[in-house]
């Protein structure tokens, strides 16, 4: 019995000593997370598979292609950029898990282009992006809620917000379709509701309003959308949803011989992907869509031309469309931001660089960038484009008339902004 007590005591003492020694060892200090002398690690969460993935799943590889091009040409102050893609299937809960992996396991320096409104809202709160000081650049969402610099101090948007887009669309609708019956199909979360609110504020009344739940888009649900629109007699239908939902809607409408004037939101309207998803090109002909960039087929545009060359070499086999253009543009902006932060690269430095120099960056989009110490908003404008019989996108009325506005009650004004020139060979030299 004494032996037993002695053994128990020994175990107890051993445990105390062991645990005490664990405390004694100090944790080692570390350099800036995700940056070494030869590498910068960046992370992105986006839907690579799943219902919402068509089109968007090309963005990561497009960004990677651009980064490889830059790496082959000296990188950023000698450091190579590594982009880690994580598939979140557009599910906010998966976005949280994958972002946790990026920040805690892969220890990335910054997030670039994370996709999805509900996704980033959940991630920002749950993972604590602001608290950890992780820069999240060029969010791939237009939710106007992210424009709040106080709530999202380390995040920067790039796309004009859905509210801005709706305001510009509203003006166009009033000028060109006054008196016609209007229909609206929108994704029933912050993405679509953002636009809906702006339409309401702009005084646009929809005769038929059809919300859909993200993830439920398909030909079956699209049948219900089309029957509601047709029953309501909508002559002009505005759509704010993801590409796979656009495809479902247009495909079913074509089969039902329902052909209103389509006005497609910028997020879900790439003609190439829509055709790949089975939408006949005849249906796309004449569809109006808001766009911020030149058409990806417009090789007279210096940005498009350069990006196409990079795509052919570094992203072989992938057709150059809106998503590839967008991805490469985000890559271009990222490299400029990293350069502007200097060779002594820190997270705080990157955020400061975005605030002070971000508005001067070269970008393919036509509208000015709004980054400043008080604003984390990127592009602020759109022009109306129309799709032609070949499925290409041309500016409505011949030349792109860009309108800019804000996400609030500011007016919609014609823009006179001129884009900065594309850096030579697509390689930024800014500092």
């Amino acid at each position: 019995m004494i032996g037993k007590t002695r053994r128990k005591r020994t175990w107890f003492v051993a445990a105390v000593l062991a645990s005490g020694s664990l405390f004694a060892t100090a944790l080692p200090a570390h350099a800036e997370t995700g940056v070494t002398s030869s590498e910068i690690k960046l992370g992105i969460t986006l839907p690579l598979t799943g219902a919402a993935s068509p089109g968007y799943n090309k963005i990561g590889n497009a960004m990677n292609a651009y980064f490889k091009y830059v790496n082959d040409n000296g990188g950023v102050y000698g450091r190579k950029i590594t982009l880690i893609q994580k598939n979140d299937e557009y599910s906010p809960q998966l976005s949280i898990a994958k972002t946790n992996e990026l920040i805690l396991k892969d220890k990335v320096f910054a997030l670039v282009g994370p996709l999805g409104t509900a996704n980033f809202t959940a991630v920002h709160k749950s993972v604590g992006i602001a608290r950890r000081g992780v820069p999240s650049l060029f969010l791939n969402t237009g939710f106007s809620g992210f424009a709040n610099k106080k709530a999202y101090p380390t995040s920067f948007t790039i796309l004009p917000s859905y509210a801005m887009e709706a305001k510009i669309a509203a003006q166009f609708l009033k000028e060109n379709f006054a008196g016609k019956k209007l229909g609206l199909v929108y994704q029933n979360d912050e993405f679509g509701i953002d636009a809906l609110g702006a339409f309401k504020a702009a005084g646009v009344k929809f005769d038929v309003s059809v919300p859909y739940t993200s993830g439920t888009q398909g030909s079956a649900t699209a049948q219900t959308w089309v029957s509601q629109l047709a029953a309501g007699g909508a002559q002009v239908v505005v759509f704010f949803g993801v590409t796979s939902a656009t495809a479902a809607l247009l495909g079913v409408a074509a089969a039902a011989k329902y052909a209103p004037q389509w006005v497609l939101g910028s997020v879900g309207s790439d003609p190439l992907i829509l055709r790949a998803l089975g939408v006949p090109v005849a249906v796309l002909n004449g569809a109006l869509t808001l766009s911020g960039n030149p058409s990806p087929n417009d090789t007279s545009d210096e940005y498009v031309k350069q990006f196409q060359e990079i795509n052919t070499k570094y992203n072989p086999g992938v057709a150059f469309d809106d998503y590839v253009l967008q991805g490469m543009n985000v890559g271009l902006m990222t490299v400029q931001a990293l350069r502007a932060a200097g060779s002594n690269l820190t997270r705080k430095g990157l955020i400061r660089a975005m605030e002070t120099k971000g508005s001067t960056f070269a970008s393919v989009a036509y509208s000015p960038l709004g980054y400043s110490k008080t604003s984390n908003v990127g592009h602020t404008g759109y022009y109306m484009a129309v799709m032609d019989a070949t499925g290409d996108r041309k500016p409505y009325g011949g030349s792109a008339v860009v309108y800019t506005t804000d996400s609030g009650s500011g007016p919609v004004v014609k823009s006179t902004f001129k884009r900065p020139a594309m850096p030579a060979k697509g390689l930024p030299t800014n500092s």
């Binding site: 598939n87 599910s91 949280i96 898990a97 946790n100 809202t121 959940a122 709160k125 749950s126 993200s214």
Partner: protein, 333 residues
């Protein structure tokens, strides 16, 4: 008198053991990096969920594939309570337990007449259908879900005390208490009654046990535990969305329970550990094979399914049981 003293000693030893475990976890939590602490919180969550399966399937013999659905009920109850009534966190957890217990009682009374594959099928339907209901009612948040924010650790713990560590502390504490309580219940008259029902329901009835009432009780308690696990899950990821309660979760839980020993309570920690480790292993494999991101969506589910099939064929009572038999054989020689 003698037997009461024995019982009291056993309980005292148990309390001491759990306190010691809690202390060890505290130390470990301080030492490992944040990712491991977060995974520790997930292990604790799975442990609670597996406890519910051990109670329901291991002890009362009712096969349920719907524990994922009960976790969802608990998680939504907790989130709705916290967001709409602004109660303290512990009250939200309490509501999770109560609401899922209620659902469990309802489910149990419906399922009491079913057994074997019919019960499994019914609960499977529940597992598939219940989370999707969230999409139908806007107050449940739809696909994006409801935020569940338990807040930050108290200031006095200092700056270095991250939120994930706080989750780890809370989750481990809850897990320890849950296992302690369940262990006591399983070693009591209830546990013996359930095992009798599992062994032979008819014989148990003849011995005076009200089988269907006890079965409903098992469902109620098991659902309460599952609901608690769901609330802990909600705390860990900060979000309650249907995407968190997929069929894969229910299958994962069953696999974890079978692997860990379906009627063995100590095994639940091992089971929880396995469930958290599987995605890590999948990650390593996916990286070796290339095209990591796409593979990662499918691999964990595949591994779980394969493990489940293998374990049902080779170790239906869990590898622990096989090991024990093996050791007994050796001892007999």
């Amino acid at each position: 008198m003698e037997s009461w003293r024995k019982v009291r000693d056993v309980v005292r030893k148990k309390i001491a053991l759990f306190v010691f475990l809690g202390w060890v976890l505290l130390i470990v939590g301080d030492r490992v990096d944040e990712l491991r602490v977060y995974q520790g919180a997930q292990i604790a969550m799975y442990t609670i969920a597996l406890t519910s399966i051990v109670l329901l399937t291991g002890y009362s013999g009712q096969v349920s594939l719907g524990n994922g659905a009960m976790m969802a009920v608990g998680a939504y109850a907790a989130a709705l309570t916290l967001n709409n009534l602004q109660t303290p966190i512990w009250f939200a957890f309490l509501m999770a337990i109560l609401v899922s217990a209620l659902f469990g009682a309802l489910l149990g009374s419906a399922a009491a007449r079913l057994a074997g594959p019919y019960l499994a099928g019914t609960t499977l339907a529940l597992a598939v259908g219940l989370p999707a209901i969230a999409n139908q009612f806007s107050f449940l948040g739809g696909e994006p879900g409801l935020i569940f924010d338990v807040g930050f650790p108290p200031e006095r713990f200092g700056e270095e005390f991250t939120q994930y560590k706080w989750f780890f502390w809370i989750a481990s504490c809850i897990a320890l208490v849950a296992i302690f309580v369940t262990s006591n219940i399983l070693q009591s008259r209830f546990g013996r009654t359930w095992r009798a029902i599992r062994g032979n329901s008819l014989a148990a009835e003849l011995a005076g046990i009200h089988a269907s009432r006890m079965k409903v009780l098992a469902f109620t308690m098991s659902s309460a535990l599952a609901g608690l696990a769901g609330a802990v899950l909600a705390m860990n990821i900060g979000l309650v969305a249907p995407g968190a309660f997929t069929l894969a979760l229910s299958f994962g839980l069953v696999t974890g329970a079978v692997l860990a020993g379906i009627s063995s309570l100590p095994g639940v920690v091992l089971g929880g550990f396995i469930l958290v480790v599987i995605p890590e292993i999948a990650d390593v494999i996916a990286n070796r094979l290339g095209d990591a991101d796409k593979l990662n969506s499918y691999l964990p589910g595949l591994i779980v399914s394969v493990l489940l099939i293998l374990s049902v064929i080779y170790t239906p009572n869990g590898p622990g049981e096989n090991l024990r038999k093996h050791l007994r054989k050796k001892a007999a020689h």
